[in-house]
Symmetry: C3
Subunit: 341 residues, 3 copies
């Protein structure tokens, strides 16, 4: 399926191997020795391909699929054509992720420091790293083994990376300490001054921002996302956070572990999110708030109060999701009533 100009496929794998590595089970009658050569979406999959179903919207695509095999929840198994072998899982998307990573593992980097890179003699770069042309690495930087610094990325003085990090093209890092296996996408800006100034009769007076950005392990920071350094305390991104593109994270913000921050979210200064908080796309958070572990915000929520963990929220100002849905219904009815008069 994948364009060989860009991707290198592993395999083939037998269905039995894929069931094992994806922790799913073969449906009755499926042949564990069946050879699978590639991934494909349901509507394009052929006999050698494995597809997956994780969204009811695509049941019709399953019913008409020519895939050799499909990963799905057992409850949808009846919709599969008889010729499609099934890998059954109650976490089909996770199972698919494991299969996909077998076919298309992260490419190994070819180590080497380009002669077109600008590496300060006081920077320490461990073995197995790759630094591409135009990348710039300042004095006092320390870079762990197996990192890839892509073309035109810039690490300013003193930045530290753990092992196996990937810094995308044209990204900027300053005043930050970064863990292991972190992926920074192209154009992300990490560690610049926060938006801190005091306004007086003579205008706005910038306040020195003397904190850092601390990023844990296994974090991803999306393309053109911005994370400002702390003003005094640090800005902290916990282990395993997934941050999408064009997100703004202000000074002193703290994210717990495993948060999911979808595209174009903005989080104002000193707000703290607990572990595994989910912020839907284009949501906004006022400053100095606490949001509890596992809170889930619908897209475009506007958070202006502290929120307890473990619940779903929506709307602006954000309220409990059930109440928000009632609001939307009442609002829709309001206009209808007027219409009926």
């Amino acid at each position: 399926m994948a364009d060989s100009r860009f991707f290198t496929r592993q395999g083939p794998f037998t269905l039995g191997m894929l069931a094992e590595l994806s922790q799913s089970s073969l449906s009755a009658g499926a042949d564990g020795d069946q050879s699978i050569i590639d991934l494909a979406p349901l509507d394009r999959a052929e006999a050698g391909d494995i597809a997956f179903l994780d969204n009811k919207k695509y049941i019709a695509a399953l019913e008409n699929s020519s895939a050799g095999a499909c990963i799905l929840d057992p409850k949808f198994a009846d919709h599969a054509p008889s010729g499609v072998a099934l890998l059954l899982s109650d976490q089909p998307y996770l199972a698919f992720a494991r299969v996909a990573r077998a076919f298309y593992p992260q490419p190994e980097i070819e180590p080497g420091i380009s002669s077109g890179a600008h590496v300060h003699r006081q920077a320490e770069i461990a073995a197995g790293c790759r630094v591409d042309p135009g990348a710039s690495i300042g004095a006092g930087c320390t870079i762990g083994e197996g990192c890839h610094i892509a073309a035109n990325a810039v690490l300013e003085e003193g930045v530290s990376l753990g092992v196996d990090c990937r810094i995308g093209t044209g990204a900027s890092l300053s005043h930050c300490l970064i863990g292991d296996r972190v992926v920074i996408y192209p154009g992300a800006r990490i560690g610049q001054d926060g938006f801190g100034f005091a306004s007086g009769p003579g205008g706005h007076l910038r306040i020195p921002q003397v904190g850092r950005v601390i990023i844990g392990d296994d974090v991803e920071v999306g393309a053109n996302t911005t994370i400002d350094r702390g003003s005094g305390n640090d800005t902290v991104i916990g282990d395993g956070c997934m941050i999408d593109n064009l997100v703004q994270i202000a000074h002193n913000v703290q994210l717990g572990k495993g948060c999911v921050i979808v595209g174009q979210v903005g989080i104002s200064g000193s707000t703290k999110l607990g572990d595994y908080v989910v912020a839907g796309g284009q949501s906004g958070f006022a400053g100095h708030l606490d949001v509890g572990d596992g809170a889930r915000l619908a897209a475009r929520s506007g958070v202006i109060h502290d929120l307890a963990g473990g619940q779903d929220y929506g709307g602006a100002p954000a309220i409990a999701a059930r109440q928000w849905k009632r609001q939307l219904i009442a609002f829709a009815r309001l206009a209808q009533r007027k219409d009926e008069k």
Copy 2:
């Protein structure tokens, strides 16, 4: 008008030439031989300048204008001072565009590959291209005739451009195939991994994103806009789409022809927009939706359902524009009522 440090003007042109190239007609009494030397806004235009009117807000500026000529809709002709020659058009903005392009055509590029650029020996660059210092072009890239790759732009392995493309300073392209006459503005990020992961007990597991970004002909992609590559299917931008700054386009999104996507819009994964859809600034689209040809979304719309084509919409959740306007009125009244008590 234009600052000669930045712009080179052509001309002068006679009114007759401008009428012809702009497909507009001279008003009665206008002299086709009148010489026009430049463009200018109504309030700054002098005798040698041509201005235009396309927005009622500026009728007072027309009434007080010293312009030599003005392009406008015949219905506004009575507002012009007697000394202003008129070019009449029922598409005055389009007529002005043609006139403006005559005075200020896109500058021709001076071909040449800078010694400060990093071009892989396995990249193919056609005749007439310009590659500026710090630009980086990877193995297997193919670049059509007449392209300009500006300073510090990066094309990763295998990227393909058609003819006469312009890639802005510091832009990043990977995993993408791009048509002819495409303009990518500075800092745009095209082709990075989509935001795809499966969440399980061990955290979030990234799913390899093995699709591409396919961009048609005559497309523009704004500054710092991000377009993720597909997860399996491709992300597709149809011919003639105009995409503004800071827009987020997620994996597997498909835009038809000629869509207009205004600044800071976000489109979630797998959503499809038909031809000539207009998305107002800061709008958001949930994932897996279909929006029909010619649908027009007001600024800040929040789209969470499929929308039929050929209609105007607004609000969040986005509904038919007429109904939305009633909602706004009812909402405003609601607060007033309370106030009156």
Copy 3:
């Protein structure tokens, strides 16, 4: 407090010196000779540190603080432990800014043009400037004394900077004239074409954008923010404006002096903001509007009408803040009523 890898501290200073430079007064019983060696947040400050209080939320932190001194409004003085010396100010945040700048002044730049920079021979760079590797400076650029052009920043042809400007890593400047002491953060895009095109039967026809971006003195432009050049008139950013990250400013927009534009705001074409306008995060402005001096917009406001100066606004469409708050209450009640049935 600050990490010495990234920051260099001045001092120590006596309390008396800090009172004088911050224009605050020592509380009764405080010792003007007490030595202060650093800044710290209330909850981490020790005997040698000075902290500040500017937000009621942190009164408990004050009550439990071990700081040597604290800057605060006299009205909160009773909450300070007896061991904490107080600097009293009715503008405590401004006073803190002055103290912070004494301890952590902007580092002086080490002048020099890197051999890895690309400087056109027709560019003029004054004394005392620093140009880092990969930076690119085009023909006809003029750069005043004491400017710092960071790694991989690009100044296209004819760009002009005043004195003591800082251009961040990977930023792009074209078609712009910039004043003194301006700070452009990493990845900002200034001066590219506006989103100007005329739509006709053959698609969208781009209109040459022949204005500039004019930026006054003491302006800050945030990371990955985009400011398009004017279409004919200029885009203008007044003296002392503070613009946060990921803001979109369209062609022909004019900002007066000292405006504060918070993250992810979008301002559409030809809209004019007066002096000292504050636009809260994620706000949006339609085009061709006038917003008066000192207007203050709450976060996520949607401005679609002209607004008078000197007042607070909120909501979408934005209305007077008082009325907006009544709307929110009525809206919340509406859903409650339905719930009670």
